[in-house]
Amino acid sequence: MRIAAVADIHFGPESAGTFRPHLEGIEDRADVLLLAGDLTRVGEPAEARVLADELADLPVPVVAVLGNHDFHGERPGEVIDALVRGGIRVLEGETFTFEKGGMRLAVAGVKGFGGGFMGASGSEFGEPEMKAFIKHTRARAERLSEALAAEEADVKVALLHYAPIPETLQGERLEIYPFLGSYLLAEAIDRVGADLALHGHAHAGSERGVTPGGVQVRNVALPVIGRPYKVYCFGTEGCDDEDALSGRLVRASGTAAG
């Protein structure tokens, strides 16, 4: 199973025609394309329509979660409608499943939210606004757990916009970590188990990390990966074909790479 992923493509009206050329031949390198939020610049439905047109008739399924930018226009329902009309599956607490070569993939998607990480996180304490902030994150984390548990699969992927761990934020200013993610998301992933967690949001962060429970985490923000998408491969089919994967293979088994 070959999973292509990218986040933070921030489409605006002027972005038409800028992304599709980079997706030519994706079907030779990946079985599915995951978009980890911030699909639009400021959450205008017109921006989502430009992206939907850009991805129309792509030969692999496209699955997405929204990011904070996609909420800025306060019309997330219309943004989702535009994406769905373009054939993009948008998840918020749901699970997308896909089978190929006898392998079953389940993608559990939520936007997530902030709050910070162990030892430096917000609590449901004090003003109602602070309680609402953390409650929102906790609710997203619970939906992530439920979505991960909803389907049996050979490969389970948690698709987020916000980060579940601080390691993939390295490069960002420490002061903004609480706005970039929450440990509650990692806890939700570790509670149920997954093979990979993908997120974006942290443009100056780092690509690789691992949850306390051992789940691999990748920050696929476009500025971090520096390419239109990154491919993550599970199993054997297609994973040992360097030509098909279009480049050098890097084997990551949690601790060692090379």
Partner: protein, 84 residues
């Protein structure tokens, strides 16, 4: 009342660049000194780079603008990673 310190003005410009529908960028660095505004960061299109300069110019018409925003092109698909 004395003139607002440049640090506050820079923070408000940074917030405006996030909110303004022509830009919508949260990671733009803004520095102001002696009526010179320096903006820096990475965006994906030339149009967005120009929009940043336009918004800053509207907010601070009496300041000179040094635009150090970089437009970063998207690279090739590149290598894959096998997770086992």
């Amino acid at each position: 009342m004395s003139e607002q310190p440049d640090a506050y003005t820079a923070a408000h410009v940074q917030e405006a660049l996030a909110r303004d529908g022509r830009v919508g960028e949260l990671g733009i660095g803004v520095d102001i000194s002696d009526h010179l505004v320096t903006v820096q960061g990475i965006v994906s299109t030339e149009e967005r780079r120009a929009a940043i300069e336009q918004v800053v110019g509207e907010l601070l018409p009496d300041h000179e603008i040094r635009n150090r925003i970089v437009v970063e092109p998207i690279g090739d698909a590149g290598e894959a990673e096998v997770i086992s």
